[in-house]
Amino acid sequence: MNTHPLIIRISRWANAAVITVMILISRAGRACRRTAAKMRELVVRVVRWAAAVGVGVMTLISGVRRSRGKAAAKMHPLTLRILHWTNAAAMIIMIMSGWKIYNDSVLFGFLHFPEEIVLGVWAQHALQWHFAFMWVLTINGLVYLGYGLFSGRFRRLLWPIQPREVVAEVLKALTFRLEHDDLTHYNAVQKLLYVGVILVIIVQVICGLAIWKPVQFSSLVWLFYDFQGARLAHFLGMVAICLFMIVHVTLALVVPRTIFAMLTGGPQVERTPAAASPVH
């Protein structure tokens, strides 16, 4: 096996070439004012998007080659990684556009999200983003739930959750003594938070539907008492998801191996029943 397999070499050089081209075009555009501004803007935008997508795809697939032909699979299969990052992007868009929508009729007088951190110049733009990416979030989410359930991933990684374990490990986490040497097993804190955020997102979609269609889905509205109740539930769900994201991203930054794992797949995992769940 080469140190640098062919696919890696191709993808890395293509990556460097694209970034160089991008820099040159943007420099050329600045130097030559006579160039039609629209054309320049279009080319730069296309190349930026292509580069970003290209870098993303290349990074994701760069882990595939190594695992091919071996009996063991990766901790985070390619499908899972795509689902994860799609969810991350969609969630950020939903939250930022949601903040702008909130601003139009605030629930709490003291809380108005600054324009710098919302998505959408005016209300209609925020609504456009929100009702576009709700499809990405829910379809991607449903695929993820199906994948997690039918591949056995949820059973392997997120189950069981034992209260005693949770208490002990939360205390360890708060005192910075929670170890994370083995990426391939989730500790009780992780299990709790991942299961928790999945449930919160499901509820968030439900109260989102209640807000969207309070007459057609009036029975959903009833779950949250009334229309304003559904709005409040949606807001609280956003707060919970944001808190999760803060903890999730912070812990990932504290243990950067986890970020690389979610980009390139992480360590090998044996898929035999013996290793499916730790013995207690």
């Binding site: 733009h125 499809w135 269609k213 007459v215 009036s218």
Partner: protein, 261 residues
């Protein structure tokens, strides 16, 4: 070489002459005006920004999804499903004022000369005077008005049922759109026929038992229980039944057309 700011979707390209001639307006603009009025500088820069972003591929993409959502909403719309109704003691009096301009800028309609004009796929297109409309059987709805902004209130409206009115004037009930043109700055909104024919869609002449007053859409407004607030046109001066999409005040700015609740 000084690098100028790259154009951004989120920074509308307001031109210098526009800014100069409206500097006085900006100085006078109160927070309320900025929030409410389309006559403020902020809204003018919005218009120029809107022109730029309207032709952008991003707006095209987002509006395409919005049109797709119209189709989904049509599928979700149950023409027989009634909106929840409430009791008269829950009614907010007076109702909340809301328009794309301030209450001081309302131009009252001369009720003596006002006539409801009819156009399009309608057999009897003779205009209706207010007396004739008042003579029609009244239906009362006590329903929740829900604004796209997120606020709501319970209101009580009464007037002729729209389906019965459309049947009376021989409108083509298989047509696609019912459009309402209004007295305020050529405001126009149109709704799908299915929602127009919904049992809780009326042409409201009264609020809480009294004729609708100037700030709230006198003499006639659309009131349907199955649409967001901005689809419920006020200060109606004409109704058109058509198969050609006539556009819409808010839709032109990027809001969703179907806007069903």
């Amino acid at each position: 070489m000084i690098r100028s700011r790259s154009p951004s979707l989120f920074r509308p390209k307001a031109s210098a002459p526009v800014l100069a001639e409206n500097r006085k307006l900006l100085a006078e603009a109160s927070r309320r005006q900025l929030l409410r009025g389309t006559l403020s500088l902020g809204a003018l820069t919005l218009l120029t920004g809107c022109n730029a972003s309207e032709t952008s591929s991003l707006q095209r993409a987002l509006r395409t999804v919005s049109s797709f959502n119209d189709g989904i909403q049509r599928l979700l719309f149950d023409p027989n499903r009634l909106a929840p109704t409430y009791s008269p003691d829950q009614v907010v009096k007076p109702p909340r004022f809301n328009a794309h301009f301030d209450v001081e800028d309302i131009r009252p309609i001369d009720l003596d000369t006002w006539k409801l004009e009819l156009a399009g796929l309608i057999a009897d297109r003779r205009p209706w005077t207010l007396d004739r409309i008042y003579a029609l059987p009244e239906q009362e709805v006590i329903i929740k008005h829900i604004c796209v902004e997120g606020w709501d209130y319970i209101g009580q409206w009464s007037g002729p049922n729209l389906r019965r009115f459309l049947t009376l004037i021989g409108a083509d009930l298989t047509a696609k759109y019912v459009a309402f043109r209004c007295n305020d700055d050529d405001y126009m909104e149109c709704i799908d026929m299915a929602s127009a024919l919904h049992p809780q869609t009326i042409l409201a002449t009264k609020y809480a038992g009294e004729p609708i007053t100037d700030p709230f859409g006198a003499p006639l407004r659309l009131r349907t229980a199955v649409k967001l607030g901005y689809k419920n046109a006020k200060w109606i001066r004409s109704i058109e039944v058509t198969n050609t999409y006539p556009g819409g005040f808010w839709e032109d700015q990027g809001f969703n057309w179907f806007a069903g609740i």
